[in-house]
Every structure is written in C-alpha cells, then in structure tokens.
Symmetry: C2
Subunit: 221 residues, 2 copies
C-alpha cells in the first residue's frame, strides 16, 4: 500500500462521514457554517460580534476547534450561545469524525444554525469537508493582500470571505482593492464582507442578513 493509496482512503473515509453529517443536518433542518482562517484572523471576535444579532432570529450553537485550551468556547459562552470545544491536541484541522462525535451533545432539532470555528490554519482545514452548507474564510488586513494567491485552496473551496481588521488599513501598507482582486482571481463567485472591531463590524448587518437568508432558504427546502 503506497502513501498515495492511504491518503486516498483517509480522504474517502472523511467524505463518507461528511456526507452522513450533511444528511443528518438536512433532516434536522440545520444550516451549518465552517469558518476558517489563519491564527488571529479574528474568527472568535467576529462570532462574538454577530452571535447576539443572529440569536435574535435563529437558534444557534457553536463548535470551537483548537489545538489546545478552551479559551474560545469560554469567550463564545459569554454571548449566551452554547459552545462545545474540540481540542485536536496538535492536529492541524477538524475532520468530519470529530464533528460527528460532538453531535450527540447537541439537540439538533432545537437548532437552526451551527457555526464550526475551525483550527487557526489557512492551509489544512480547506481540504476537509465537515458536512457544512457554507464555507467562510476570514482574512485579516495585516496578513497582506497577496494571501489569496499564496493560499489558493482555502479561497477556491469557499463561498464567502470576511476581510477583518479593516480599521488597521491606515497604519499598514496593504491595498484592500488588490486583496479583493486576488480573491476574485482565485474564485470570482466569492461573496465578500468587510469587517472591523473598532467602531463596530462595518458590514455586520449585511453579513448577518446574508447568513439569515441562507438559513431561511434551507428551512424552506
């Protein structure tokens, strides 16, 4: 058995479990988002901002993925939203089995939206389907405009992007239009949102409306 065969078998197994997760989510009428981005791209901070607004309309839960610590789940719970913490103990991404193992801990029928915050890593999570409906990549302004072309898989396999920390633009040599051009070069269908912490999330209302619309469309099916 060669290395390629083994990788292919593991990929096939992950796809199989992801398909089972997806079927379960569908039967529960649950919309699922897989959120990914580099360490410190602002994934937990974005959730802290949008969860209270989402909670007004849809019943939401969060699964947090990290190598170590329960820090992020603790932050999410302060918003009043249920948060489960997965520790990968060094593992560089979440896989479909890890999500499957958490689902018995949630009452899926009592939820409309599940947001999975993946391990901070712009590479590995992009290759693992978890059974989600939507993949959203976060790219923070300080990471630089060229990241979509340097880390293409994440952007190619996503439907939405949130550009975070736009309030830092005046202090950086980063061209936001160039960043967006690179994103469109990799994946012209990406829906792009701009957000910032200071002064509130600029396009938070648009992002929340977009997510609510996706949840509604799935419920309507």
């Amino acid at each position: 058995m060669t290395r390629v065969d083994i990788k292919r078998d593991l990929d096939a197994l992950n796809k199989q479990i992801a398909a089972a997760n997806r079927a379960l989510f569908k039967s529960a009428g649950l919309y699922v988002i897989n959120l990914m981005g580099s360490p410190g791209s602002g994934k937990t901070t974005l959730l802290e901002n949008i969860l209270p607004r989402l909670q007004d309309h849809v019943r939401t839960a969060v699964i947090e993925g990290d190598l170590a610590t329960e820090n992020d789940a603790l932050r999410i719970r302060k918003t009043g939203v249920t948060a489960l913490q997965i520790n990968t103990n060094g593992g560089c991404h979440l896989d479909a089995r890890m999500i499957e193992n958490q689902l018995s801990r949630l009452d899926l029928a009592a939820l409309d939206l599940l947001i999975i915050e993946n391990v901070g890593n712009l590479v590995c999570p992009a290759s693992f389907d978890l059974g989600e409906d939507l993949r959203m990549v976060l790219l923070s302004v300080p990471e630089g405009a060229d990241k979509p072309v340097k880390y293409p898989t994440a952007f190619l396999n996503a439907q939405a992007v949130a550009i975070t920390k736009t309030d830092l633009l005046p202090y950086l040599n980063v061209d936001l239009d160039e960043m967006k051009r690179y994103m469109a070069e990799i994946n012209p269908k990406l829906v792009v949102f701009e957000t910032a912490l200071k002064g509130g999330v600029y396009e938070a209302e648009r992002l929340v409306a977009y997510i609510l619309e996706q949840v509604r469309q799935k419920k309507g099916k």
Copy 2:
C-alpha cells in the same frame, strides 16, 4: 498496517533525512535557520530587513517555502541574496526531503548561513525537522497575545521568537507583556526579539548580532 504505524514510519523517514541534511550542513560549516509563523506574520519582510545587514558579514542564501507562487523568492532576490523557491502545491509544511532536493542547487562550501522560510502555518511546520540548527518563530502583534498557549508546539520546539509588527500596538487591544508571559510559560528558554517595519526593525541590530554569534560559534566548532 494502522494509521499510527504509517505516521510513525513517515516521521522516522523524515528524521533520517533531516539527520543526513544536518551532517551535510556540519561538514560544510553551514549554519541553518528554520523560520516559521502564520501567513502574514512578516517572515519575508523580516528577511528583507536583516539580509542586507547579514550579507555584510556572512555569505547567505535563502530557501522559500510556499503552497503557490514565486512571490517571496522574487522579493528576497531584490536584496541581492540567492533565493530558491519550493512550491508545495497545497502541502502545509516543508519536510527534510524537500530541502535535500534543493541542496544540489547551492554551493554549500561557499555559504555560511542558510535561512529556510517555511510555509505560512503555525501548526504543521513545527513537527518536521529539516536538519536546522535554530528554529525561530515569528508571531505578529495583531495575531493576539494568547497564540503561544493556543499553538504550543511551535513555541515549545523553537529557540528564538521574533514578535513582529509592534508598531501596531497603539491600535490594538493586545498586551505585549501578556504575550511574552505566555511564551515563557510554554518555553522559558526562548530568546525573544521585538521588531517593527515602520521606523525600522526595532531590535534588528540585536537580532542580527545574535544570528552572527550563532554562525561564528558553529564555525569555531
């Protein structure tokens, strides 16, 4: 053969090639640095800043690791330093074999210092020995103070850290002392440098002096 066996075999193979690289570097009197950090943590920018100062004292070459593009090698070559580009085509880290494959392209006996810039990823590169003498992790201020405890392996296996983009501190809710405390908690032996782009690299002279001292010590052995 179980998954664990296969991982163990691949790890053993990497260690074996890394040991061969290390022996080759030693016989050539070449000091090797493995530079790692998240996407956009400032690895290439730091090199652009310190390479001209290092070049005044030691003969230096760079190997760049990226998923895609030759962007970083092109930036390094502008400093006058030889730079080879490895594209991992989606791979999340460099391994010892990739470095071995590049070594025939360099005249090792005509070099004193080789800097390997790993793939932008705070997780996977930390688990792969390349045969280096020194591991340096870059952590940029906007990534947040808690990253050493959330991504412990990278900091545990390193000897030096450069905290980058410290010029952004006034615009962020990040506590530099807290970041350093977390680093010391994971690995009390870490040598820590602070750097920034605007106004020059604050501790560039100290960092350059530190690297030159390591190169000299190896030559003296």
